[in-house]
Structures are given as C-alpha cells and as structure tokens.
Symmetry: C2
Subunit: 398 residues, 2 copies
C-alpha cells in the first residue's frame, strides 16, 4: 500500500520527534516538573501581541477578504510591508513581487526545491544540519551532498566545499543562526562562500542557488549581526519563517524571497508561485498573513532577553561542569560534545537523569548532542543538578 519512496521514512522516522514522544511518556510517569526535556525546538516564550494582532484583523477586516483566496503568492499588501521592512533594515531593494508567502520555511524550501531541482541534481549542506533537508531534497529526486563538520568552530569547511561542487550542484543550503549549533556566519564567511560559488558557476557554466534557510534570523544575542545573504551572492533565495521570531511554529507562516538578481528571476518567481499551489498549499494561511502585517506595522517580536538569559545560564553551567561546546550566538540550541564517542550512549545516560536531548547523528554530526534551551528558565535551574550528576558520572568533575 505504501509507496517505495515513503518506506525508508517509516523505518527511520525523526529521532527528534521520537524524543519528544519519550518526553511526554516520562512526564506522565515522573511528573512534568521532574523531567528536563530539551529535545524540541518549540518556542516557549509567548508573544501575546500576536494575539492582539489576530484579534485586530479579525475585527477589522471583511470576512471574505480575510479568510478567502488571494493570489497564490499571498496578499500584496502583506508582501509589500515585509519587503519594505527588510529593505529598511538591510538596505535591500525588494518589491512585493520578490516575495511569496509560504506555509513556513519547511514548505518554502520544498517550493523552491521543486522549482529548481531535476532528478540527480546535487544539493550541498554543511554538517551539522537539520536532517529534514534530506527529505526535502529526496522529494524531488535530488541528491544530498554533505560537507563534513568542523567540530571546533562549526563553520563551513570551505576547502571541502569547493572540492565537492560539481557540474551537477544545483543548490547549497545554509542556515545561520544555525540549528543545531547556534553559530552565526560572519560577513567574511559569506563573502568567501559566495566567491567559491561564483567561481564554480563560471567554471561549469551552471547556476548554483544559495538557499538561505532563516527561521532563526532574528534570534541573535549580545549584539551579534546576522548579515543579509542576498547582498553577497546573486543567486540567493531566502526561506524565512515566523515560527521562532513570533513563537508561532504551529501556524505555518513564512516567505520566500527571490531577488531580481537571481538568474531568470521572473520565471523562477512564477515557477515557485505555481509550486506553492500544486504542492497543495495553494497559499499561506490568510489570517496569519494579515496578522504578520500588523505585527510588522507595530514592531512586534519575541523578547530575546528570555532566550539569552537561558543561553547564558545553561552554557555557563555546562562549561563549569566540564562539558565542551562552541559558544552559540543565535538560535536556541547548544551543541555539546559528547563525553563518549557514541553520543547515543550519552543521551541514554542523560535519560536516566531524566534529561532529554537529541543525538548529533540526527544532524549528520555524531559525537555531539543538541540541547534546546527554548524552555523555562526554571526548568534549566531545576535541571542543573542533573547535568552536574551526568558530568560526575563521566568524570568531567568530581
């Protein structure tokens, strides 16, 4: 009954989701407050003003306009507002036509991959990375090519990158601030990356698209700047999501930006708009589109301080306990080196202490674990003795 392409998924379902289910199971046994679940990137900081936005548009807008069909790319006024706010922040020159509203960034990635990938085309990602990319690429019979991780800095290994670009390379996915490491790519890094890609485009006479997956764009701490990727490379497509910046991952709202500088830009915008339709999304949820406009007009976004406080508390404690971890400048994850080679054993040990996190092999980077700190400050405080006990068990401290 099940198609051949879906069968591998059944055998190998998301380890992150599995951990999430395990957390629910354990909470039922030991009580919610005695289980320290750091497995899922589900934002915990409410943004009550999003509700104000929703109430406002529900009360003000005409029913059939608010809940009806619009152009498959989304409401023009919403796209215009987003374009102008990006232009103002980053000095870009997007028009509303460069934007397509999507059912989150995951759908945006599917839409753009469907629009550009021919069977056998290669898509490059830098480990560690969000392994759902594998599924998205496989959906269009693309081939994933993975650049091995630099486990010191978690920055792209540029030599290996350059060597692995072939005439079949159609796209490169980057994700900064990064899930799972929290690192942010500098302007310099982006320039070097772009230079390599341009060189390879010329060498092979091909077009290589840089897909900038940006659900964490607005989650950077301590004044760290996240450079706007379209400024460094002509064939850049941005996949944004409001899931994290407005704490609404369930609502499925984001956008694609296909700048005019992209080769065949107008054609690609048309193709992506159609892909949005025929993949079955038709359009991004209409009420949320309008709410997003209100949020931008009224400068609404998540309070970053809460995440930054969490990061500081947990990061400093883990370092104190002898764990090793690259300091994350953004997102809401720590990517911690496992004290034993097999990080799944580390996860099992932690589970005995009722601490849940996700093995790095789920991000193509074994030997590490991802700890999501988008939880309450109190959960982190309560969990610290458990982390200390785990550190003691591995002899990191006495």
């Amino acid at each position: 009954m099940v198609s051949e392409k879906m069968k591998p998924f059944l055998a190998n379902n998301s380890a992150i989701r599995a951990m999430f289910e395990e957390g629910k199971r354990m909470a039922a046994i030991y009580g919610q407050e005695n289980v320290y679940d750091f497995s899922l990137g589900n934002p915990n900081v409410p943004v009550p003003e999003v509700n104000d936005a929703l109430m406002h548009v529900i009360q003000e807008d005409e029913f059939n306009v608010l809940h009806g069909y619009m152009s498959n790319a989304g409401y023009e006024d919403v796209r215009l507002t987003i374009a102008e706010s990006i232009n103002k922040k980053f000095g870009t020159t997007f028009s509303y036509k460069n934007l397509i509203m999507t059912v989150g960034a995951a759908s945006g990635l599917n839409v753009i991959l469907k629009s550009i990938i021919n069977p056998g085309d290669e898509v490059i990602a830098f480990a560690p990375y969000f392994v759902e990319y594998n599924s998205y690429v496989r959906n269009y019979d693309g081939v994933m090519v993975v650049i091995s991780p630099d486990t010191e800095t978690f920055m792209p290994k540029l030599d290996e990158f350059e060597a692995k670009i072939t005439s079949k390379t159609k796209a490169v996915i980057i994700n900064s601030p990064n899930n799972p490491t929290g690192v942010v790519y500098s302007e310099e890094m982006l320039k070097e990356l772009a230079a390599i890609m341009k060189r390879k485009e010329e060498e092979y006479g091909t077009s290589i698209v840089l897909l900038s997956d940006e659900p964490y764009r607005d989650l950077a701490y301590g004044g760290v700047e996240v450079p706007y990727v379209t400024k460094y490379y002509h064939n850049t497509v941005v996949c944004y999501s409001y899931s994290k910046s407005l704490s609404v991952p369930g609502e499925r709202i984001g956008y694609l930006i296909i700048p005019d500088e992209v080769e065949d830009s107008a054609l690609l915008i048309s193709a992506a708009t159609i892909a949005n339709r025929v993949l079955g999304c038709v359009n991004a949820p209409s009420l949320m589109q309008k709410a997003i406009k209100y949020c931008i007009d009224n400068d609404i976004s998540v309070d970053l301080e809460a995440y930054e406080k969490n990061r500081n508390l947990l990061y400093n404690a883990l370092i104190e306990y002898g764990f090793s971890c690259a300091k994350p400048d953004g997102a809401f994850y720590l990517f911690v080196k496992s004290p034993v080679a097999d990080e799944k054993e580390f996860c099992e040990t932690a589970k005995k202490h009722r601490v849940l996190f996700v093995p790095g092999s789920s991000f193509a980077c074994p030997g590490h674990v991802r700890i999501a700190y988008c939880v309450s400050y109190e959960q982190i405080e309560r969990s610290l003795p458990a982390f200390r006990a785990i550190a003691m068990e591995y002899g990191l401290i006495k």
Copy 2:
C-alpha cells in the same frame, strides 16, 4: 534555472486563475458592479461565527499550546471532535487516529498521493474534474487516466471505468458534490463503483484506493443526501476541506481520513503523517485547528440557503434563456453546455458582455463552461440581462 518538471506549468498556467486576474482587470476599467465574474470558487457567504470561534480560542487557550507545534497529524482533541461528529452523522466508527489534519484538501490529496504512488502508477479521474488533480498526480510521477464524460448525466461511465482499470491502477479520485458539475453521486452509484473496484482488485491482486475529494460534502441542496463513501468500499481515503463549509479557503484547513478497513491502515496513517511533515506543511495551521473544534462543538456552518437561492435564480434563468445544464444538487457551480462547439469562443462572447466564466476544457470537458454562483444574489440579478443578451446572440431566444 527552472526545473524540467515545472516548465510545462509555466507554459500552461491555471485558466481559472487567469480568468480571475482578467476579472480584476476588467473591474478596474468598468467598475466592480458592471463586471459579472463567475470564474472562481471563492465562497461569498461569510460565516461570522468562525470569527467568534477564533476570538474564543485566542482568549482561552495558552499561547504556546495554541500556536505551537503539536503532533504532525494535528491536535488529538480536534481530531477526536471531528471523528465523533462524523461517526454521529454517518454511523462510522473512526477514532482520532484515523484522522490527519491537513493544509486543506489540496494538501491532503498531495499527502495521500505521495504516500501511495510509485512512478508510473495510474490514477483515474472522471471528466469533468478539477484539473489540478493532474498536477498532484504528476508531482509523484503518477499517470493520470481520464474517463470520458457522460455529458447528459455527468455520472461516471462505469463501462469505460471498468475497461480502463489496469494492474497499474493505484487510485481513483471522485468528487461529489462535484466541481464543476454540481452533481451528487447516489448510494447506488457508489455501490456499483465499489463493486467494480473490488472485482478489479481481486483480478489483479492489487490494492486500489478510492480517494474521495470532499470539499463540497456539506453543500447539497433540497434535501439531497451525500452518502459517506467509506461505507461502500474498504480502501477509501477521504480528503475533506473546510474551505467551503466555513467559507475559509484562504486558511488552508482540512483533514484526511484513513479508516481501519484500509489495507495496511496503520502503516499508511504513519506514512501520510510523515508525508504531511516532509512535504513541508509539518502540520495544519494550529489556531484554525482549534477554531474548527469550536465550530463543531457549537454547530457552526455556512448558511446554505444563500447558495440554494443563487442556484435557483441562475439555473432557472439560464434554462429559460434556452441554455442547457444538468441540474446541480450541490457545490456552487453550473456546468452549462456551450451553444457553440468551441466553448472558448463562448467565453469570449460572454466576456464582451462582461460576464466571466471558465471553459470546460479546464476540466477535461470541452463544449461546456463552468459558472460559479458563489457570488452575491444581486450580482446574479444584475447579470441576467447580460446572460439574456448572450442567449440572443446565439439565437437561443429571440
């Protein structure tokens, strides 16, 4: 830049959408009230209680639960409420596990097709049909097989159907009440259809899935009953959407039902849940899921009288003017025979009278046009002289 699979789409974009754009263009020239646009199935009857539902859940539910991630199949309480309401209405025995909340029926169809279709598998549809099915099937390298229309009754031609089922037939799509004809399949018709499919499953030793695309299930008039398809055939999967029954097509909310009777049911439910995730939807919009539960708990649905009044006014007038049309029992379309063989010419003539509707060739049934009467009663009233003038131009009346 654009993938080979997307190129045909660019050449041959939706005629319905093109007509919609034409309507906007003409309205700008002649004034909204002087253009009679019957091209798009965009519901015009507001359901203000949906806004009450939204306001209620926004005020009552915890922010991070309401807007956060849930299981990829959707909130359990929402699925339970829907399952119970269907069980009560139709005597079925679904549990919440049989339901997967989807980004509308279009996405539901994509999800189930991805879950079952191998390249080269055949999917049967009965003309006239919503031609986006072609795109959905092509997304998974399936092959569309079309049963020619019975232009008298617009019921499935069962002989041709039986003859065209092969060992490669994986799915059959039905859509009752039908877009574009408005006809409703009787219990008898479903039993005959099911008997043929069972016979063919046995003959070939295959599984053939009956996909019941049901966005118009709740739009039937004059006491006509729409039988529940899962009761007649074991391998039935239902694709439902609230777009029309709650007038919220922009919100993208619907569900799949995969009953226990379906072969490998549990596996297929898992596969579809994963497909929902990896196609990028992740889950159906969370706020709308909760609003749907509230709507069911409070018996909220669109006022059918408005559509029925529209149908009666327009149908009776067109018959009076000499047009020929099967009487529609549901949905909000009339499928009218073109007075000239080339119905596109008919559309062009109508356009001169500022009347817009869609050629039947967009539904694999040339020689007819689809007239969507989900418009204001006043628009229909105002348009009647134009329809009369068109009829006179073709000599249907004097």
